[in-house]
Amino acid sequence: MSRVPQVSSPTRGLVASSLRSSLVDGPGHRHVLFLQGCNFDCLACHNPSTIAVCDDCGVCVAGCPLDALSVSGGRVVFHLDRCDGCDICIRVCPSNSSPMAQETTVEEILEPLRADAPFLSGITVTGGEPTLQVDFLVELFEAIKSDPDLSRLTTLVDTNGTLSPEGWKRLAPVLDGAMVDLKAGNPGLHRTLTGQEMDPVLVSIRWLHGHGLLAEVRLLVVEGVTDTDEELDAWASFVGGVSTSIPVRLMRFRHEGTRPAARAWPETSEEALVRVRDHLAAAGLTQVAV
């Protein structure tokens, strides 16, 4: 199963979907772009169909009731005009991927954005893991910053923090901030939850903070998993070690969108959020928001 998006040019991104209106992806009213492909495989992922990239196996083509998928030149081709969004293709995909992700040019993203810009604070690119397509991100954000109708929009990424400092350095001139998920306090749990090591995430958090680009660090509160005293102490110790005034946002775990295996965990209660907030505050973090 491939997780790394392949596109024909840096001015094209593999885009899973977009939202014209979001209140929950950073400050203000924001346009949200979901990129396809993630190098984590989180059990609690709320958008699991954005993890794997289509490998053109073709299983979904027969599964589509509306003939919105076909095979051409060994590639699966998606026909948006025939799709009614039933998502059967995702359910039949052996990789739980979406064949509906589209190679999209920067200009195709900018055009609708111009019309909506007066209503927006900015754009947030999420996914998937957006920084897997860092070339495209640089192109997209450069285009936004140099367009007179769009340049006032802030550019944010919602990231798992695995991009290298070299990558952040390229993005930094056109990036207003990164919201980084730190999924666990201890490396062992991080490996269990994400399938990946925690160190690169810590490196990113330090680098982004040092360059004034750390918009917030997020913790997904899964009761009985990420909210134990031991986990919270380790989490707070790392974040507070970088700076106690880093904005922290606690995220609620919900069943909607998740894979069946994750639903053994309960959805996060209000009480748990308050308890975690108080715990992190007691550990010295000064800007914890629920």
């Binding site: 014209r20 209106s21 209140l23 929950v24 400050p27 203000g28 009213h29 924001r30 909506d116 007066p118 209503f119 927006l120 604070s121 928001a289 629920v290």
Partner: protein, 526 residues
Amino acid sequence: MARMEDFRDSAHRLVTTPNLSYRQRLHQLALLAEDALPYPKLSHEAESALESGIVSDLAEGHAPYRPRYTVPDYSVALGGGSEYLEMEPARDLEDAVTNLQILYHNVPSITSYPVYFGDLDALLLPYLDDRDDAALDGLLTRFWRFLDRTIPDAFAHINIGPTDNRIARSVLRVDAALAQVVPNLTLKWDPATTGDDLLEMAARSIAAVNKPHIANHPMISADFPEGYGVVSCYNTLPLGGGSHTLVRLNLKESARAAAGDPGRYLTAVLPEHAALTFEVMEARIRFLVEEAGFYDHHFLVKEGLLDRDRFTAMFGLFGMAEAIEILLEGARYGWDEAANELADRIVETAAHLVGDRELPYCRQGRATLHAQSGIGDDIGVTAGVRVAIGSEPEVLDHVAAIAPHHRVFASGISDIFALDGSARSNPRAIVDVTKGAFAAGMREMTFNVEGCDLVRVTGYMVKLSDIEKWKREGSRVASTVLGAQSVENWGLLGRVPRVISHEDMGRSFTDPVESRLVADRDSLPG
């Protein structure tokens, strides 16, 4: 003699309805007596149009003896005192607040209470001394309690802005902290003077108490260079005047006469029904001015707080969503280009008809167009020119569909945007959407944020917790009764958040305490 018996029965029911307060019983009895008088003389056609519901006078009463809405220029009496009230000019902030309280007690409107408390910051700023914010908030807190407890009617508005000033900020702080139904609140917004800071403060208030309503000041000022007040349900009316009457044309009922034939509707049926609406308006205005003589004798007119020549009359439209479905089979207003274009043409035609028809005793000799935001017993007909409940497009498409209408509705138009509770932790989003909407040509902007106890019904506020209480023991707030009816009829409770703000068809009214007596006659001021 049967009518006399009906009258006695109704009066008896009123004076014995346990959920009505003394004041509410008194008001209802007055309305009952008014309706025992004959209606102003109308043609047979206009009478039938009222009867069939094509034209609705919102149960304003048979013998108008006060204007529907008054927007007094209180600054006249604050600065110059009042001979009639034996009131000296105000010398300090305490004087100003007390004098306003006295004036409110003497301001008539259709609700029997004032609908406009003034642009409070502009009124009080000349008297503001060097007291600190805590002292100022304390004064306004007491003032707010006075308003809510003595003028229990959520159609009554305080306006603030467009400048950012200490009074406006204190108003927002106090209003959000108290979360009262009264006063209703409007912030006038001007990109040149308001500033994002004050707008964001207002957005935080909206996230907490669904107030204030926000008005596009440059746009409305262009229509009313003499000044304006935002009152009742999104009505923008000339300062120092108001509106003699509000009569509304039910586009849904009207369109039935030309089902499937938009061309005939625009050229024949709409003009015919508009003419009947104007006839009802003229008859009511003439009675108010010529027979009741309100403008000849009332001290507010004599002392210059009101001026007859600053009164308009409101020509209301409602039921656009259903009218489009009747005229264009299969069309979906808010979604289809053809449907939206037809709505544009209906609005333009109505605007021309209003511009062509001279009305006596009206500012500039004309009525003003108003998108009427509904009353509780509108069943199966959508308010104003709104997209029907439950079929609203996503917010940006929604604005694009309706913003073009806003230009011509000089006396107000409402569209309520529902936001989920996540707006509470992201008030900046409310600022963004508001600015975008005003840039797109929206005249006014209102939000209902999910999870607030205080919600906006048509334009007025109601506490959801009060409705349950009212069913048991009545409410001291007159408008809660109306809110309860809307909640029943439109299914406002228990629906997805976006729906809470929009009127819709619902089941027929079933009322545990016969409040229909109240709601029918003490109808929403619009």
